[in-house]
């Protein structure tokens, strides 16, 4: 290996240090010459004679030079250069052919580069933290909850008692309102984090310091760290802001640090915020609750394992700590669930990306086959040229090399153009990318992508160039020259090869079409499925009432007043407020509540999403009532408590009976006043449009379960966009310091919930369409080639009485045979491959007969069409002319 490398270096030196090598050679030979001359003089010759004799005996000076050069193999490279020039000249002579082949390759290579740049950014590039492989996410799970956040005190015990982690940090969503500095108040996306949070990630503030453990204690002054973009946008990049206080949620926070640009949020699960530069401000999490009550779980934990420790060891360690905690009467029913940060971040997009890579890979393969087909057609047109060159003594290897150089030139031109397409393509991809797509910010065309493109181009060139080159160079010299003289081309074996290629191309295209068809089918299913609510004509927004100014009662009063004011606006039909909106990834859960009359064992396993709703919440969102009644807004604060549940909860916990009137309780030993009565049942709404199951859920009236952070939904009889300004005004009227956030139409929310599916459908569909075009093109090429070849025969047939229709049928059946074989192969392969689509499909089986049949027919129809054009030409031809042309 080392020797190979040395030789390579020597060759390169010979090639690039050419002038130096030449001059050295010159000096070496003249040294020799001088010695010869001296020797001759020693034998008694005159100076001139001696030199002349030396020159004679040295032989052809330039010949030696040339041979030395040969030995240094620089000629080899010069030959390549000549081949290259020849290739470019030849390709330029048939611009139509060259443009078509380069364009098809550019499209597929470009698509590959674009998709690879996404894969590179999302899957291959390391996470933006030092030693990212040591970072893990720590969750709980249980029989009812697959992945659950921790209680802050459980986290603190983990942090104190573990032995395998270098450090550990917790974070919880804490959006805050920044009071207007001469402008409107804004909601900032924020997290409250434990001490040493940034240290655990391995990043540190550009100015100032990280949160410390001291800051976690109650009673300390509140501290905050700003993101770089917030610091620039809101504080004019003023370094003096360090140490000053700012008002967040009307409370004073001291700014202790400013993060550098590019400092990324690792993504979190509970009240999720996508990863990237998505967080505006971090505040200190303060442990100020009672550690005895650990029922509420809201902390996302991230841990950095000690060097050399695997996540299994970390898991075992934390499980042991959890066992200790259970002995201390906490953490009951939970297990530790550890997942590497990388997997957590990219896990859900991995399959889609690999499917996309597979799809573009197929597309490239089709483009290769197509290019091979075109080259074959052309090489048969060049049979004479090649025959003449072999007759003149060109070795077979030399001809293969020449033809391969041509395909390499084509491939590299395709790659160059493809890269340009990819530059634009990646930009388009990024705008189409679903909003919460992991690591979107890491996607760009970089040197790795360019290297990938180059390798792909070279492999492509070899792949599609080798077969035609070998075939062409194998041609029988005599026959070619003879056949050439007669004006006909190629042979039966060539046609067989081309038929084979076209069958392959059709088959591959069918695989892609099936994938696209299944995804289209899924997408239609998703669009047609009843979402359980009516997203049309609803304006939504979120408000967050800062705690110090709004206590329990004043929150209820505020929202009541706001809803009443909004209701008066023209065109407004109903206004509701609630803890969340459908399809926004809300994941608040309540487990282990009691059902009246059931055993403790039964109640331990109960689970449901908990929500809060105002009386008109369901009406505003168009969620129908199935049984019972909605809240009336007069539920007394101190009970009797009431709740509305969804169908799934009613069916799971009261199967076969009416749930209305039944009671549940959140208290382990409920007194009469602790019971909550079910007053209504509403239609199920899925977490996400493609969720396969629906979780039980209940809603508590806002008057009994107050919250300052609510979403508002306004249903209007006219265009809800027009209400946006009036909405802001209504809020400002009540509290000028309150920020209106997330102002969106419910339609937009529903649309973006399908963005992942739309994105993958769009791309796979695009690739499938390209594949179909290429396959049609290939079919056209083959049929039209064979028609050209048989014109003489057709003329003869016509002369002997065949009608145009007979010829048409003959040729069409040839095309049809090929496409039937191709489509059948493709459908069979697809049946095996579509299982890989897995969760990307919704409501359709991976071997959906309808899709398979439709794609089969589509493939047959287009390829038949492709063979119709040449068939028509044959049928329309004047037999006399065809015969005479020979």
């Amino acid at each position: 290996m080392i020797r190979l490398f040395d030789i390579l270096v020597l060759r390169l030196r010979s090639l690039f240090g050419r002038t130096r090598v030449e001059s050295e050679l010159d000096r070496e030979l003249s040294f020799h010459l001088d010695h010869l001359t001296q020797e001759n003089r020693a034998h008694g010759m005159s100076a001139d004679d001696a030199r002349a004799a030396a020159k004679r005996s040295l032989g052809g000076y330039t010949q030696i030079q040339e041979e030395c050069r040969d030995m240094r193999r620089t000629n080899y490279i010069e030959t390549i250069w000549n081949d290259l020039r020849y290739a470019v000249r030849t390709l330029a002579r048939t611009p139509g052919f060259t443009i078509v082949i380069v364009l098809t390759l550019a499209l597929s290579i470009g698509a590959n580069s674009a998709i690879f740049s996404v894969i590179q950014g999302v899957l291959l590039r390391p996470l933006p933290y030092p030693h990212p492989d040591r970072l893990v996410r720590i969750y709980f799970n249980s029989d009812t909850q697959p992945k659950f956040p921790l209680n802050p005190y459980d986290f603190r015990d983990f942090r104190q008692r573990n032995r395998t982690f270098e450090s550990m940090a917790g974070m919880t969503r804490h959006d805050v309102q920044l009071a207007g500095i001469g402008s409107e108040p804004v909601m900032l996306r924020g997290f409250a984090v434990s001490g040493g949070y940034f240290g655990t990630l391995g990043i540190s503030p550009a100015r100032g310091r990280d949160f410390s453990f001291d800051d976690e204690q109650p009673g300390r002054s509140r501290v905050a760290i700003l993101s770089d973009h917030l610091w620039r946008a809101r504080f004019a990049s003023d370094p003096g802001i360090l140490g000053r206080t700012i008002k967040l949620n009307t409370e004073s926070y001291t700014v202790i640090g400013i993060m550098p640009p590019g400092a990324q949020h690792p993504g979190n699960n509970f009240q999720a915020v996508a990863d990237g530069e998505t967080v505006d401000v971090w505040t200190q999490f303060i442990f100020d609750e009672d550690p005895k009550y650990r029922g509420s779980h809201y902390m996302d934990i991230i841990g950095r394992l000690k060097s050399g420790i695997g996540s299994e060891q970390g898991h075992a360690d934390l499980s042991a700590v959890l066992e200790q905690l259970k002995k201390e009467k906490t953490g009951d029913g939970w297990r530790v669930y550890l997942i590497p940060l990388y997997q957590e971040t990219v896990g859900r997009s991995q399959r889609m990306l690999l499917v996309l890579l597979g799809a573009v890979g197929l597309l490239l393969l089709i483009a290769c086959v197509n290019a091979a087909n075109l080259l074959l057609a052309r090489s048969s047109a060049r049979v004479r040229e090649i025959a003449v060159r072999s007759a003149l003594g060109a070795a077979r290897g030399r001809i293969v090399r020449q033809l391969l150089t041509e395909s390499m030139v084509i491939a590299l031109a395709g790659a160059a153009l493809g890269t340009m397409l990819a530059v634009g393509g990646v930009r388009v991809l990024l705008t189409f990318l679903p909003a919460d797509f992991p690591r979107a910010s890491a996607i760009r065309l970089d040197s790795t992508v360019f290297a990938f493109t180059l390798i792909v181009a070279v492999l492509t060139g070899l792949l599609f160039g080798l077969v035609p080159a070998l075939t062409a160079s194998r041609t029988d010299l005599q026959q070619s020259l003879r056949e050439g003289a007669r004006g006909s081309t190629g042979g039966a074996s060539q046609l067989r090869l081309r038929n084979f290629l076209v069958v392959g191309e059709t088959g591959l295209a069918c695989v892609l079409l099936i994938a696209a068809g299944l995804m289209l089918h899924s997408f239609v299913n998703l669009l047609r499925a009843d979402p359980g609510f009516k997203p049309q004509q609803v304006l939504t927004a979120s408000l967050s009432l800062p705690y110090p100014r709004y206590h329990e009662n004043s929150r209820v009063a505020f929202y009541k007043q706001l809803i009443a004011n909004l209701q008066l606006l023209p065109g407004v039909e109903s206004v509701g407020a609630g803890s969340d909106l459908p399809w926004t990834g809300y994941d608040g859960n309540m487990d282990g509540w009691r059902v009246e009359g059931r055993s403790d064992a039964y109640n331990d396993k109960t689970t449901a999403r908990y929500h809060i709703a105002s009386p008109d919440y369901f009406r505003a969102l168009g969620i129908p009532l199935l049984n019972g009644r909605f809240f009336d807004g007069h539920e007394p604060e101190k009970g009797p408590y009431v709740v509305i549940i969804n169908e799934s909860m009613a069916n799971r916990y009261w199967p076969g009976e009416s749930a209305v009137g039944k009671r549940i309780s959140f208290d382990d030993h409920p007194k009469e006043k602790d019971w909550i009565q079910i007053i209504g049942i509403v239609r199920d709404v899925k977490d996400q449009p493609d969720s396969t199951s629906i979780r039980p859920a209940f809603w508590m009236p806002h008057s009994q379960q107050t919250d300052g952070n609510l979403f508002i939904a306004v249903r209007s009889s006219s265009d809800p966009v027009l209400l946006a300004n009036q909405f802001r005004q209504a809020v400002r009227q009540q509290d000028p310091e309150l920020a209106v956030a997330d102002l969106r139409l419910m339609n937009q929310i529903a649309g973006s919930a399908l963005s992942t599916q739309r994105f993958s459908l769009f791309l796979i569909g695009l690739f499938a369409l390209l594949a179909l075009v290429l396959a049609t093109f290939g079919m056209y090429g083959v049929i039209s080639y064979s028609v050209n070849q048989r014109m003489h025969e057709f003329g003869l047939r016509m002369a002997l009485g065949a009608r145009p229709w007979d010829l048409l049928r003959l040729i069409l059946s040839q095309g049809l045979t090929l496409s039937i074989i191709g489509a059948a192969t493709g459908l069979l392969c697809a049946a095996g491959l579509t299982k890989l689509l897995g969760t990307l499909l919704y409501g359709v089986s991976a071997t959906d007969p309808l899709t398979f049949a439709a794609v089969g027919l589509l493939a047959l129809a287009t390829t038949t069409l492709a063979s119709y054009l040449p068939a028509r030409r044959a049928a329309d031809a004047d037999p006399m002319q065809s015969l005479r042309a020979e």
Partner: protein, 112 residues
Amino acid sequence: MSKPSDLIQGTLDLLILNTISLEPQHGWAIAKRIQQVSNEVLQVSQGALYPALHRLEQQGWISSDWRVTEGGRDAKFYTLTRAGRAQLRKELAQWERLSSAVGLVIRMGASA
């Protein structure tokens, strides 16, 4: 490609490698040495010597550098590399085998 030579193909490489195995030499000295040691039987033509040197260098068996000769002139000296030494051993063994085989055949032929 190569010029007609008095030497059997391939033996020139062996001779060159062997000649410089003792100490680095320049082209002229290599040619002279082969000539002298073989009692003027083996005449290395310059047209064969230099291409061979360049080929051996490209193979990585010898390396070259410019040194000053005893006469005070710059000359390109060739040195045997580690890989070259291994190659020399291989070629010597091969040569022994070949020459003894040829010798055997000739003697058998003479006795027949």
